[in-house]
Protein backbone atom coordinates (compact mmCIF):
# COMPACT_ATOMS: atom_id res chain seq x y z
CA UNK A 1 0.00 0.00 0.00
CA UNK A 2 1.06 3.52 -0.66
CA UNK A 3 3.28 5.32 1.81
CA UNK A 4 1.17 8.30 2.61
CA UNK A 5 1.39 8.61 6.37
CA UNK A 6 0.52 12.15 7.32
CA UNK A 7 3.54 12.43 9.61
CA UNK A 8 5.99 11.58 6.83
CA UNK A 9 8.67 14.24 6.41
CA UNK A 10 7.96 16.88 3.84
CA UNK A 11 10.66 16.64 1.17
CA UNK A 12 12.53 19.73 0.15
CA UNK A 13 10.62 21.45 -2.60
CA UNK A 14 13.14 23.95 -3.78
CA UNK A 15 10.29 26.43 -3.99
CA UNK A 16 8.12 28.03 -1.38
CA UNK A 17 6.42 30.61 -3.55
CA UNK A 18 2.71 29.65 -3.45
CA UNK A 19 2.12 30.52 -7.09
CA UNK A 20 5.07 28.41 -8.25
CA UNK A 21 3.94 25.58 -6.01
CA UNK A 22 0.42 25.75 -7.43
CA UNK A 23 1.71 25.77 -11.02
CA UNK A 24 3.79 22.70 -10.21
CA UNK A 25 0.73 20.92 -8.86
CA UNK A 26 -1.29 21.67 -11.97
CA UNK A 27 1.61 20.81 -14.27
CA UNK A 28 2.53 17.62 -12.45
CA UNK A 29 -1.07 16.39 -12.48
CA UNK A 30 -1.16 16.89 -16.24
CA UNK A 31 2.31 15.47 -16.80
CA UNK A 32 1.92 12.27 -14.80
CA UNK A 33 -1.59 11.53 -16.04
CA UNK A 34 -0.53 12.37 -19.59
CA UNK A 35 2.39 9.98 -19.30
CA UNK A 36 0.21 7.24 -17.81
CA UNK A 37 -2.40 7.59 -20.55
CA UNK A 38 0.27 7.60 -23.25
CA UNK A 39 1.24 4.08 -22.10
CA UNK A 40 -1.92 2.94 -23.89
CA UNK A 41 -0.75 4.10 -27.29
CA UNK A 42 -1.02 1.06 -29.56
CA UNK A 43 -2.74 -1.07 -26.90
CA UNK A 44 -6.31 0.20 -26.64
CA UNK A 45 -9.22 -2.19 -27.25
CA UNK A 46 -10.38 -0.41 -30.42
CA UNK A 47 -8.72 2.02 -32.82
CA UNK A 48 -10.99 4.95 -31.95
CA UNK A 49 -10.12 4.60 -28.28
CA UNK A 50 -6.44 4.30 -29.07
CA UNK A 51 -6.67 7.62 -30.90
CA UNK A 52 -8.76 9.19 -28.15
CA UNK A 53 -6.31 8.12 -25.44
CA UNK A 54 -3.37 9.46 -27.42
CA UNK A 55 -5.18 12.76 -28.01
CA UNK A 56 -6.04 13.17 -24.35
CA UNK A 57 -2.43 12.41 -23.40
CA UNK A 58 -1.25 14.96 -25.94
CA UNK A 59 -3.55 17.68 -24.62
CA UNK A 60 -2.36 17.01 -21.08
CA UNK A 61 1.31 17.08 -22.02
CA UNK A 62 0.72 20.32 -23.91
CA UNK A 63 -0.95 21.85 -20.87
CA UNK A 64 1.95 20.61 -18.74
CA UNK A 65 4.31 22.78 -20.71
CA UNK A 66 2.31 25.95 -19.93
CA UNK A 67 2.06 25.19 -16.21
CA UNK A 68 5.69 24.17 -15.77
CA UNK A 69 6.89 27.19 -17.73
CA UNK A 70 4.89 29.33 -15.34
CA UNK A 71 6.33 27.50 -12.32
CA UNK A 72 9.84 27.99 -13.67
CA UNK A 73 9.27 31.68 -14.39
CA UNK A 74 7.83 32.36 -10.94
CA UNK A 75 10.45 30.48 -8.93
CA UNK A 76 13.20 32.36 -10.78
CA UNK A 77 15.79 29.59 -10.67
CA UNK A 78 16.23 29.48 -14.41
CA UNK A 79 14.59 26.08 -14.77
CA UNK A 80 12.74 25.34 -18.01
CA UNK A 81 9.61 23.19 -18.29
CA UNK A 82 11.87 20.36 -19.49
CA UNK A 83 14.20 20.78 -16.52
CA UNK A 84 11.25 20.54 -14.15
CA UNK A 85 9.78 17.50 -15.91
CA UNK A 86 12.96 15.53 -16.37
CA UNK A 87 15.31 16.53 -13.58
CA UNK A 88 13.24 16.44 -10.41
CA UNK A 89 13.06 13.37 -8.19
CA UNK A 90 9.82 11.83 -6.92
CA UNK A 91 9.74 13.83 -3.67
CA UNK A 92 9.67 17.06 -5.63
CA UNK A 93 6.60 16.10 -7.66
CA UNK A 94 3.33 17.68 -6.59
CA UNK A 95 0.69 15.62 -8.41
CA UNK A 96 -2.16 13.96 -6.56
CA UNK A 97 -1.83 10.22 -6.00
CA UNK A 98 -4.78 9.42 -8.27
CA UNK A 99 -2.93 10.24 -11.47
CA UNK A 100 0.07 8.02 -10.75
CA UNK A 101 -2.02 4.92 -10.11
CA UNK A 102 -1.31 2.16 -12.64
CA UNK A 103 -3.50 1.89 -15.70
CA UNK A 104 -4.94 -1.52 -14.79
CA UNK A 105 -7.50 -2.56 -17.37
CA UNK A 106 -9.27 -0.18 -19.76
CA UNK A 107 -12.07 0.30 -17.22
CA UNK A 108 -9.70 1.42 -14.50
CA UNK A 109 -7.93 3.82 -16.86
CA UNK A 110 -11.29 5.31 -17.80
CA UNK A 111 -12.53 5.59 -14.24
CA UNK A 112 -9.31 7.37 -13.22
CA UNK A 113 -9.73 9.72 -16.18
CA UNK A 114 -13.35 10.38 -15.30
CA UNK A 115 -12.62 11.20 -11.65
CA UNK A 116 -9.82 13.50 -12.81
CA UNK A 117 -11.75 15.21 -15.62
CA UNK A 118 -14.70 15.82 -13.28
CA UNK A 119 -12.30 17.85 -11.11
CA UNK A 120 -10.19 19.33 -13.89
CA UNK A 121 -13.05 21.01 -15.76
CA UNK A 122 -14.62 22.98 -12.86
CA UNK A 123 -11.11 23.78 -11.60
CA UNK A 124 -10.16 25.31 -14.95
CA UNK A 125 -13.51 27.09 -15.13
CA UNK A 126 -12.78 28.67 -11.75
CA UNK A 127 -9.20 29.51 -12.66
CA UNK A 128 -10.35 31.53 -15.66
CA UNK A 129 -11.44 34.15 -13.15
CA UNK A 130 -8.05 34.12 -11.41
CA UNK A 131 -6.58 37.39 -10.19
CA UNK A 132 -3.30 36.13 -11.69
CA UNK A 133 -3.56 36.67 -15.47
CA UNK A 134 -0.97 34.03 -16.30
CA UNK A 135 -3.13 31.42 -14.57
CA UNK A 136 -6.30 32.68 -16.22
CA UNK A 137 -4.93 32.47 -19.75
CA UNK A 138 -3.66 28.91 -19.36
CA UNK A 139 -7.00 27.91 -17.85
CA UNK A 140 -8.91 29.51 -20.72
CA UNK A 141 -6.90 27.51 -23.22
CA UNK A 142 -7.00 24.21 -21.34
CA UNK A 143 -10.70 24.33 -20.41
CA UNK A 144 -11.71 24.04 -24.06
CA UNK A 145 -9.72 20.84 -24.44
CA UNK A 146 -10.77 19.37 -21.15
CA UNK A 147 -14.47 19.78 -21.93
CA UNK A 148 -13.95 17.10 -24.62
CA UNK A 149 -12.10 14.87 -22.15
CA UNK A 150 -14.94 15.07 -19.66
CA UNK A 151 -17.58 14.43 -22.30
CA UNK A 152 -15.80 11.29 -23.45
CA UNK A 153 -14.96 9.83 -20.05
CA UNK A 154 -18.48 10.52 -18.74
CA UNK A 155 -20.03 8.89 -21.79
CA UNK A 156 -17.88 5.77 -21.51
CA UNK A 157 -18.29 5.38 -17.74
CA UNK A 158 -22.06 5.30 -18.29
CA UNK A 159 -21.85 2.90 -21.22
CA UNK A 160 -19.50 0.47 -19.49
CA UNK A 161 -21.06 0.79 -16.03
CA UNK A 162 -24.51 0.21 -17.42
CA UNK A 163 -23.19 -2.34 -19.91
CA UNK A 164 -22.58 -6.08 -19.69
CA UNK A 165 -22.14 -7.92 -16.38
CA UNK A 166 -18.44 -8.09 -17.11
CA UNK A 167 -18.01 -4.39 -17.90
CA UNK A 168 -20.17 -3.42 -14.92
CA UNK A 169 -18.09 -5.55 -12.56
CA UNK A 170 -14.85 -4.11 -13.87
CA UNK A 171 -16.06 -0.52 -13.57
CA UNK A 172 -17.29 -1.11 -10.04
CA UNK A 173 -13.94 -2.67 -9.09
CA UNK A 174 -12.12 0.31 -10.62
CA UNK A 175 -14.28 2.75 -8.70
CA UNK A 176 -13.77 0.88 -5.43
CA UNK A 177 -10.00 0.87 -5.99
CA UNK A 178 -9.71 4.52 -6.93
CA UNK A 179 -12.26 6.09 -4.61
CA UNK A 180 -9.85 6.67 -1.68
CA UNK A 181 -7.63 8.66 -4.05
CA UNK A 182 -10.39 10.61 -5.72
CA UNK A 183 -10.85 13.35 -3.16
CA UNK A 184 -7.26 14.36 -2.47
CA UNK A 185 -7.95 17.32 -4.78
CA UNK A 186 -10.10 18.84 -2.06
CA UNK A 187 -7.76 18.43 0.89
CA UNK A 188 -6.54 22.00 1.28
CA UNK A 189 -3.23 23.06 2.74
CA UNK A 190 -1.99 26.58 3.61
CA UNK A 191 -0.89 27.17 0.00
CA UNK A 192 -4.38 26.49 -1.33
CA UNK A 193 -5.87 28.70 1.35
CA UNK A 194 -3.47 31.59 0.70
CA UNK A 195 -4.07 31.48 -3.05
CA UNK A 196 -7.83 31.25 -2.61
CA UNK A 197 -7.76 34.26 -0.26
CA UNK A 198 -5.84 36.19 -2.89
CA UNK A 199 -8.41 35.29 -5.56
CA UNK A 200 -5.77 33.43 -7.56
CA UNK A 201 -7.55 30.07 -7.35
CA UNK A 202 -11.17 29.17 -6.63
CA UNK A 203 -11.93 27.99 -3.09
CA UNK A 204 -11.95 24.20 -3.16
CA UNK A 205 -15.61 24.11 -2.15
CA UNK A 206 -16.44 25.87 -5.42
CA UNK A 207 -14.81 23.00 -7.32
CA UNK A 208 -16.03 20.29 -4.99
CA UNK A 209 -19.71 21.10 -5.49
CA UNK A 210 -19.78 20.58 -9.28
CA UNK A 211 -17.47 17.56 -8.89
CA UNK A 212 -19.84 15.95 -6.39
CA UNK A 213 -22.87 16.72 -8.53
CA UNK A 214 -21.36 15.40 -11.75
CA UNK A 215 -19.80 12.29 -10.22
CA UNK A 216 -22.96 11.38 -8.33
CA UNK A 217 -25.21 11.85 -11.36
CA UNK A 218 -22.87 9.94 -13.67
CA UNK A 219 -22.43 7.02 -11.29
CA UNK A 220 -26.19 6.83 -10.88
CA UNK A 221 -26.65 6.71 -14.64
CA UNK A 222 -23.91 4.07 -14.75
CA UNK A 223 -25.72 1.89 -12.18
CA UNK A 224 -22.51 1.94 -10.17
CA UNK A 225 -22.53 2.02 -6.39
CA UNK A 226 -20.76 4.89 -4.66
CA UNK A 227 -18.21 3.33 -2.27
CA UNK A 228 -18.79 3.89 1.42
CA UNK A 229 -16.34 5.36 3.86
CA UNK A 230 -14.65 8.70 3.89
CA UNK A 231 -11.02 7.59 3.94
CA UNK A 232 -8.87 9.78 1.69
CA UNK A 233 -5.38 8.80 0.56
CA UNK A 234 -3.25 11.92 0.43
CA UNK A 235 0.28 13.21 0.32
CA UNK A 236 0.96 13.94 -3.34
CA UNK A 237 0.57 17.70 -3.00
CA UNK A 238 3.51 17.80 -0.60
CA UNK A 239 5.61 15.22 -2.40
CA UNK A 240 4.73 12.06 -0.48
CA UNK A 241 3.92 9.61 -3.24
CA UNK A 242 2.92 6.03 -3.78
CA UNK A 243 5.59 3.58 -4.90
CA UNK A 244 4.34 3.87 -8.48
CA UNK A 245 5.68 7.34 -9.20
CA UNK A 246 9.34 6.32 -9.11
CA UNK A 247 8.77 3.76 -11.86
CA UNK A 248 7.06 6.34 -14.04
CA UNK A 249 9.96 8.73 -13.57
CA UNK A 250 12.52 5.99 -14.23
CA UNK A 251 11.01 5.52 -17.68
CA UNK A 252 10.15 9.13 -18.39
CA UNK A 253 13.45 10.62 -17.24
CA UNK A 254 15.84 7.91 -18.39
CA UNK A 255 17.09 9.70 -21.47
CA UNK A 256 17.85 13.02 -19.77
CA UNK A 257 19.47 11.26 -16.83
CA UNK A 258 21.66 9.04 -18.99
CA UNK A 259 22.48 11.70 -21.58
CA UNK A 260 22.19 15.06 -19.81
CA UNK A 261 21.15 17.87 -22.11
CA UNK A 262 20.32 15.55 -25.04
CA UNK A 263 18.11 17.31 -27.57
CA UNK A 264 15.60 15.95 -30.06
Amino acid sequence: MAMTASDAPVPATGTTEPLAEFALRMGDNCLILGHRVSEWCGHAPVLEEDIALANVALDLIGQTRFWLELAGAVEGRDRSADDLAFLRDAGEFRNVLLVEQPNGDFGKTLMRQFLFDAWHKPMLDGLQGSSEPRIAEIAEKAAKEVSYHLERSTDLVVRLGDGSDESHARMQAALDDLWPYAREFFVDDPIDAALADAGAVPPSAAVRAPWDAHVTATLKASTLRLPEGGYVQKGGKRGVHSEHLGYILAEMQFLQRAYPGARW
Binding site: N55, R65, F66, E140, E145, E151, R152
Partner: protein, 166 residues
Amino acid sequence: MATLARPAVEQIRSWLDQVPDPEIPVISLVDLGIIRDIRWDDDTLVVTVTPTYSGCPATSVINLEIETALRDHGIDKMRLERQLSPAWTTAWISERGRTRLRDYGIAPPIEGTAHCALGGEDGPTIVCPRCSSEATEMISRFGSTPCKASYRCTACLEPFDYFKCH
Protein backbone atom coordinates in the same frame (compact mmCIF):
# COMPACT_ATOMS: atom_id res chain seq x y z
CA MET B 1 18.74 52.59 -42.53
CA ALA B 2 17.27 49.19 -41.80
CA THR B 3 13.83 50.69 -41.40
CA LEU B 4 13.78 51.59 -45.08
CA ALA B 5 13.83 47.90 -45.93
CA ARG B 6 10.88 46.94 -43.73
CA PRO B 7 8.18 45.34 -45.86
CA ALA B 8 4.63 46.39 -45.03
CA VAL B 9 2.68 44.28 -42.59
CA GLU B 10 0.07 43.48 -45.25
CA GLN B 11 2.81 42.24 -47.55
CA ILE B 12 4.08 39.97 -44.80
CA ARG B 13 0.59 38.70 -44.12
CA SER B 14 0.22 37.75 -47.78
CA TRP B 15 3.50 35.83 -47.59
CA LEU B 16 2.27 33.93 -44.55
CA ASP B 17 -0.95 33.24 -46.43
CA GLN B 18 1.19 31.11 -48.74
CA VAL B 19 2.44 28.94 -45.87
CA PRO B 20 0.33 25.76 -45.59
CA ASP B 21 -0.70 24.21 -42.31
CA PRO B 22 1.67 21.24 -41.93
CA GLU B 23 -1.09 18.76 -41.12
CA ILE B 24 -3.90 20.08 -43.33
CA PRO B 25 -1.93 21.53 -46.21
CA VAL B 26 -4.95 22.82 -48.15
CA ILE B 27 -5.35 25.74 -45.77
CA SER B 28 -2.82 28.40 -44.91
CA LEU B 29 -1.71 29.56 -41.49
CA VAL B 30 -3.65 32.78 -42.10
CA ASP B 31 -6.80 30.82 -43.04
CA LEU B 32 -6.45 28.83 -39.84
CA GLY B 33 -6.56 32.06 -37.82
CA ILE B 34 -3.47 31.42 -35.73
CA ILE B 35 -1.48 34.48 -36.85
CA ARG B 36 -2.71 36.99 -34.28
CA ASP B 37 -0.44 39.92 -34.94
CA ILE B 38 2.36 41.10 -37.19
CA ARG B 39 4.32 44.19 -36.24
CA TRP B 40 7.71 45.80 -36.46
CA ASP B 41 9.66 46.41 -33.28
CA ASP B 42 12.34 48.73 -34.65
CA ASP B 43 14.17 46.54 -37.17
CA THR B 44 12.81 43.26 -35.78
CA LEU B 45 9.67 41.67 -37.14
CA VAL B 46 7.42 40.29 -34.40
CA VAL B 47 4.88 37.65 -35.36
CA THR B 48 2.39 36.60 -32.69
CA VAL B 49 1.09 33.05 -33.04
CA THR B 50 -1.54 31.27 -30.97
CA PRO B 51 -1.59 27.48 -30.68
CA THR B 52 -4.66 25.56 -31.84
CA TYR B 53 -4.41 22.86 -29.17
CA SER B 54 -1.96 22.96 -26.27
CA GLY B 55 -0.22 19.77 -27.28
CA CYS B 56 -0.51 20.07 -31.03
CA PRO B 57 2.76 18.61 -32.35
CA ALA B 58 2.49 20.84 -35.41
CA THR B 59 3.15 23.95 -33.32
CA SER B 60 6.93 23.77 -33.51
CA VAL B 61 6.78 22.87 -37.21
CA ILE B 62 4.52 25.87 -37.80
CA ASN B 63 7.02 28.18 -36.11
CA LEU B 64 9.82 26.76 -38.19
CA GLU B 65 7.82 27.22 -41.40
CA ILE B 66 6.97 30.82 -40.55
CA GLU B 67 10.62 31.53 -39.95
CA THR B 68 11.70 29.79 -43.14
CA ALA B 69 9.11 31.59 -45.27
CA LEU B 70 10.06 34.99 -43.90
CA ARG B 71 13.77 34.35 -44.35
CA ASP B 72 13.08 33.36 -47.94
CA HIS B 73 11.55 36.82 -48.36
CA GLY B 74 14.67 38.45 -47.00
CA ILE B 75 13.67 39.08 -43.39
CA ASP B 76 16.58 38.30 -41.10
CA LYS B 77 15.59 39.70 -37.76
CA MET B 78 12.39 38.28 -36.36
CA ARG B 79 10.87 37.10 -33.13
CA LEU B 80 7.93 34.73 -32.73
CA GLU B 81 5.74 35.30 -29.70
CA ARG B 82 3.16 32.93 -28.30
CA GLN B 83 -0.19 34.31 -27.21
CA LEU B 84 -2.59 32.09 -25.24
CA SER B 85 -5.43 34.52 -24.63
CA PRO B 86 -7.88 34.96 -26.22
CA ALA B 87 -7.72 31.24 -26.84
CA TRP B 88 -7.84 30.12 -30.45
CA THR B 89 -11.30 29.35 -31.74
CA THR B 90 -12.48 27.77 -34.96
CA ALA B 91 -14.54 30.94 -35.48
CA TRP B 92 -11.26 32.44 -36.72
CA ILE B 93 -11.01 30.04 -39.66
CA SER B 94 -11.64 32.06 -42.84
CA GLU B 95 -14.48 31.42 -45.28
CA ARG B 96 -11.94 30.43 -47.89
CA GLY B 97 -10.40 28.03 -45.38
CA ARG B 98 -13.79 26.42 -44.73
CA THR B 99 -14.43 25.92 -48.42
CA ARG B 100 -11.02 24.37 -48.89
CA LEU B 101 -11.53 22.05 -45.94
CA ARG B 102 -14.81 20.81 -47.40
CA ASP B 103 -13.26 20.33 -50.83
CA TYR B 104 -10.48 18.35 -49.17
CA GLY B 105 -12.99 16.00 -47.49
CA ILE B 106 -13.00 17.51 -44.00
CA ALA B 107 -16.33 18.82 -42.72
CA PRO B 108 -15.70 22.40 -41.57
CA PRO B 109 -16.66 23.47 -38.04
CA ILE B 110 -20.20 24.63 -37.38
CA GLU B 111 -19.88 27.86 -35.47
CA GLY B 112 -21.92 28.58 -32.43
CA THR B 113 -21.63 24.94 -31.38
CA ALA B 114 -18.25 25.28 -29.73
CA HIS B 115 -19.37 24.22 -26.30
CA CYS B 116 -22.13 21.83 -27.18
CA ALA B 117 -21.74 18.10 -27.00
CA LEU B 118 -20.83 16.26 -30.15
CA GLY B 119 -23.09 13.36 -31.03
CA GLY B 120 -26.31 12.69 -29.19
CA GLU B 121 -29.66 14.35 -29.68
CA ASP B 122 -28.43 17.87 -29.05
CA GLY B 123 -25.27 17.57 -31.09
CA PRO B 124 -24.73 19.64 -34.23
CA THR B 125 -25.78 18.22 -37.61
CA ILE B 126 -22.60 17.52 -39.51
CA VAL B 127 -22.97 17.39 -43.27
CA CYS B 128 -20.99 14.74 -45.15
CA PRO B 129 -18.27 16.55 -47.14
CA ARG B 130 -18.49 13.93 -49.90
CA CYS B 131 -22.20 13.49 -50.61
CA SER B 132 -23.70 16.39 -48.60
CA SER B 133 -26.04 14.07 -46.70
CA GLU B 134 -27.07 15.09 -43.19
CA ALA B 135 -27.35 11.42 -42.21
CA THR B 136 -24.08 11.26 -40.33
CA GLU B 137 -23.03 9.93 -36.95
CA MET B 138 -20.11 10.46 -34.62
CA ILE B 139 -17.61 7.63 -34.27
CA SER B 140 -15.29 9.41 -31.82
CA ARG B 141 -14.76 12.90 -30.42
CA PHE B 142 -11.12 12.47 -31.37
CA GLY B 143 -9.51 11.97 -34.74
CA SER B 144 -6.28 11.88 -36.69
CA THR B 145 -5.21 15.26 -35.31
CA PRO B 146 -6.24 17.03 -32.07
CA CYS B 147 -8.54 19.41 -33.95
CA LYS B 148 -10.70 16.76 -35.58
CA ALA B 149 -13.42 14.30 -34.62
CA SER B 150 -14.26 11.09 -36.49
CA TYR B 151 -17.64 10.75 -38.21
CA ARG B 152 -19.28 8.44 -40.69
CA CYS B 153 -21.92 9.10 -43.30
CA THR B 154 -24.76 6.60 -43.23
CA ALA B 155 -25.83 7.58 -46.77
CA CYS B 156 -22.61 7.12 -48.74
CA LEU B 157 -21.02 5.01 -45.97
CA GLU B 158 -17.77 6.95 -46.06
CA PRO B 159 -15.95 7.79 -42.85
CA PHE B 160 -14.75 11.39 -42.66
CA ASP B 161 -13.13 13.93 -40.36
CA TYR B 162 -15.03 16.79 -38.78
CA PHE B 163 -12.99 19.83 -37.86
CA LYS B 164 -14.62 20.17 -34.47
CA CYS B 165 -15.69 23.45 -33.03
CA HIS B 166 -13.38 24.84 -30.47
